[in-house]
């Protein structure tokens, strides 16, 4: 699955984008976050304030209990501040 990061989430992870193999146990966005946190200290630091992070699956906003299903791209970012 393709994973993208934006704004301070991107800065903390240290990369903009990565492709990862999802373990079979990862079914929801929450599972995915738990998996990413386990990868290394940078991911762990990025997801430290989990409540402050927003998620999109295939470029549509979702909640963290959303099923990943056959989504090809997940993106993590802070609350938006455009306009």
């Amino acid at each position: 699955m393709n994973i993208r990061y934006f704004a301070w989430v991107r800065e903390r992870v240290g990369i903009e984008e990565e492709t990862i193999e999802l373990p079979g146990t990862v079914k929801t966005v929450s599972d995915l976050i738990a998996h990413l946190k386990s990868l290394d200290e940078y991911h762990a630091s990025a997801f430290e304030e989990e409540d402050a992070i927003r998620v999109a699956l295939d470029q549509v906003h979702v909640e963290t209990d959303a099923e990943i299903g056959d989504a090809r791209e997940a993106a993590f970012f802070p609350p938006m501040t455009g306009g």
């Binding site: 301070w8 470029q59 549509v60 906003h61 970012f77 501040t81 455009g82 306009g83």
Partner: protein
């Protein structure tokens, strides 16, 4: 048939008058046109620029979803949304919403709704670059923006 919104996510500046003209030229059914321009302010002289990061693809898709929702709620004759990204100095334009309708209420409300939803749902993030040369920092989302967006639900 519902109108198709004009959506653009771009680095270059826009011309608000030219965009408004596109929604009125050659038409006689437009009775109201509301245009909102958001600019970069210097926060009392402390900012050299705002840097706008966006999620390419989703930014356009989300702006289109918000615009289509506005078109579903109000009888608009035209709707344009332009959002810039990249480094923007104080005084320069950031965002434009132009809503046209036969009557004023629909145009006012649609433009207001668009900005409220855009601020909380469109994937853009602002980073402040400081005159002092100090560390640049991400602008934090404000609870009042969520409250403004909740007015429309």
């Amino acid at each position: 048939m519902p109108v198709a919104p004009r959506i653009s996510v771009q680095t270059q500046d826009f011309n608000a008058q030219a965009e408004a003209d596109l929604l009125t030229n050659g038409r006689k059914d437009v009775g109201a046109l509301v245009s909102f321009t958001g600019l970069c302010r210097d926060e009392a002289g402390t900012l050299t620029a705002l840097e706008l990061e966006h999620y390419p693809g989703m930014a356009e898709a989300e702006l289109t979803r918000i615009a289509e929702e506005a078109i579903g709620r109000w009888p608009l004759t035209g709707l344009t949304v332009i959002h810039r990204f990249g480094k923007i100095p104080p005084g320069d334009n950031i965002v434009l919403v132009v809503a046209a309708s036969s009557h004023r209420r629909a145009a006012f409300e649609a433009a207001d709704f668009l900005m409220d939803y855009l601020k909380t749902r469109a994937p853009f993030w602002k980073k402040e670059h400081l005159v002092s040369g100090g560390a640049s920092s991400w602008v934090e989302a404000r609870a009042v923006d969520d409250e403004d967006a909740a007015r429309w639900t």
